[in-house]
Symmetry: C2
């Protein structure tokens, strides 16, 4: 197909070197890898796919596509409080992806493997006549029974979120020439948020024993808070003015408050959203300082069910379709 | 896109029930699953993708597509001697795959989960404008350090293979209307070999401590024996007349001996190919009887490197491109 390179050649040349850090990966030269967690630890396993045209654009730099595929999975590990250990990669190479593309792709993986302490232990490459898709299964480690889940939030807990919200969605709109801040550096920051999210590994780890419920924001802040409520059998309230925005987001919301609901229902933020008892406030403040990371209190867990969103005047506001649907994106 | 169903709905209705057997999967309602191997055991991890048009045809029954995706991965676990435990599934749903298709697909997974004792612990579903691809990462368990590898074959070892070779390739040709045995039941058996391989889990487990090298035949008998030789730094010799064939294959080879080399270079057999010392012969015979499974000695490991293939007269014969390339299939 379309002159795509030979699978064995790709594995030997570009992917096998990525397995060097994990002896149990057997250099990708066997049917499978053999690994075990450290004593007293469990493995945490997550699988996420990114697809051309949805999570990345055809002309995005291949090394950044690779890193995003890995990072969206590491973000799920972070939301469980797990330390990254290993991953498998299934690469369906679409039209026009030649060996040069694969080389740049693999070098992106190498960079992030070093950055996050994670090693490739298996995978598969097939040629696909359609768009390119990348499926990663990431494996992390966490002390047995200590993992953060979505199910432990209790009425009265505060709700916190790291970083700023909505920038990835803005970046996608900029890349599609649908939007610009008029300021090159703000546009570039939004594009970077879309292409290269930052998994909050250190924060997730620090939240073990501190957060009662946690999730990473991939479907949109509102939808993901809904997931915590559902798993915890609680309701929640968000104060819209408290939601942390970048300068780009702040400017848009000042012009047109409707942007606020767009920003909290966009996807792909990969920030950590978590609940914690009020008594944890000072510890969370200290944590934000230690990690040099913005962590903002945006609301509270309530009895009951459902999500209330309060505007500047403290009135409930409708946010419409609460979230992001892979099958309905931007329709 | 094309009226494909909502991802959350699909997960809740069809995939979450498949996670019931593994408490650590948290009902697919969290960011990740938390699992650990039994004491004294390691996890064995493998990832394989199957793609429409290559490993299955667009009109293949969805429940069989699902089972094939799972089984090609379980076959890799079998080749390591591991017992299946859990898997993740990344499903890129192509054109024309509606909710009815997904329902049939999930019911195929349910059947094979029960049959092989394995549970879904995570995954992702995206809509793809191109063909459907399925990426599974399977996790099995094996006693720590006991896993079978490709790297332990020694000169003088016998080479054995389970089942019959080449039938999946014949089945694909029948499905493409390129070939028929003229006998409906033989055609059906070949189609079944292509669509629904049988992972040799019990055999793989029984080979722990017995086989010196093992692999599952996915790239073709010749290519996969080449992988054992490469990892073991040995050569090998196969006696073509000894290679076990189905009645369909036997008839073809009787008409035209060139079929023999086609059959051992086709892919998708998912039989186990392994080496064992000559002293293991009687034990392997007993094993074949106990498992009611054909296990045939087809050659020997030799010093040196490379693969020699001997014909009926004991002469070396050329087999051409030794194997199967996903990027060059049937060109």
């Amino acid at each position: 197909m379309n002159g795509a390179p030979d699978e064995f050649h790709l594995i030997r040349r570009y992917f096998a070197p990525l397995a060097a850090g994990e002896p149990g990966a057997l250099g990708l030269g066997d049917d499978a890898a053999a690994i075990k967690p450290a004593d007293g630890h469990s493995f945490v396993v997550t699988a996420d796919t990114i697809a051309e045209g949805v999570h990345f654009l055809p002309d995005d730099p291949p090394n950044q596509i690779a890193r995003k595929a890995l990072r969206v999975n590491l973000s799920d590990l972070a939301a469980m409080g797990a330390a990254p250990r290993a991953y498998t990669l299934a690469l369906a190479l679409g039209r026009g992806r030649d060996e040069e593309w694969v080389a740049a792709f693999a070098s992106g993986l190498a960079d992030d493997q070093q950055r996050f302490g994670v090693t490739l232990i298996g995978g598969d490459t097939v040629a696909a006549p359609g768009p390119t898709t990348l499926s990663v299964t990431a494996i992390g480690e966490v002390g047995e029974g200590r993992e953060l889940t979505r199910g432990g939030a209790r009425a009265g807990d505060h709700i916190w979120v790291s970083g700023t919200i909505g920038d990835a969605g803005l970046g996608l709109r900029v890349l599609r020439d649908e939007l610009s801040s008029g300021d090159e550096s703000l546009d570039a920051a939004a594009i970077s948020a879309y292409r290269l999210p930052e998994p909050r590994i250190a924060l997730g780890n620090a939240l073990l024993g501190l957060a009662t419920g946690a999730i990473d924001v991939s479907d949109g802040l509102a939808a993901d808070l809904g997931h915590i409520c559902e798993q915890s059998s609680t309701g929640a309230v968000i104060e819209l003015p408290a939601v942390p925005l970048s300068e780009f987001g702040t400017r848009l919301a000042a012009d047109d408050p409707a942007w606020l609901t767009r920003l909290i229902t966009g996807g792909d933020d990969y920030e950590l959203l978590f609940s914690a008892p009020p008594a944890a406030e000072s510890e969370i403040g200290a944590l934000a300082e230690r990690l040099a990371l913005r962590i903002t209190r945006i609301g509270a867990i309530e009895p009951g069910s459902g999500l209330r969103v309060l505007d500047h005047a403290g009135n409930s506001t409708e946010i419409g379709s609460a979230g992001y649907r892979h099958f309905q994106f931007d329709r």
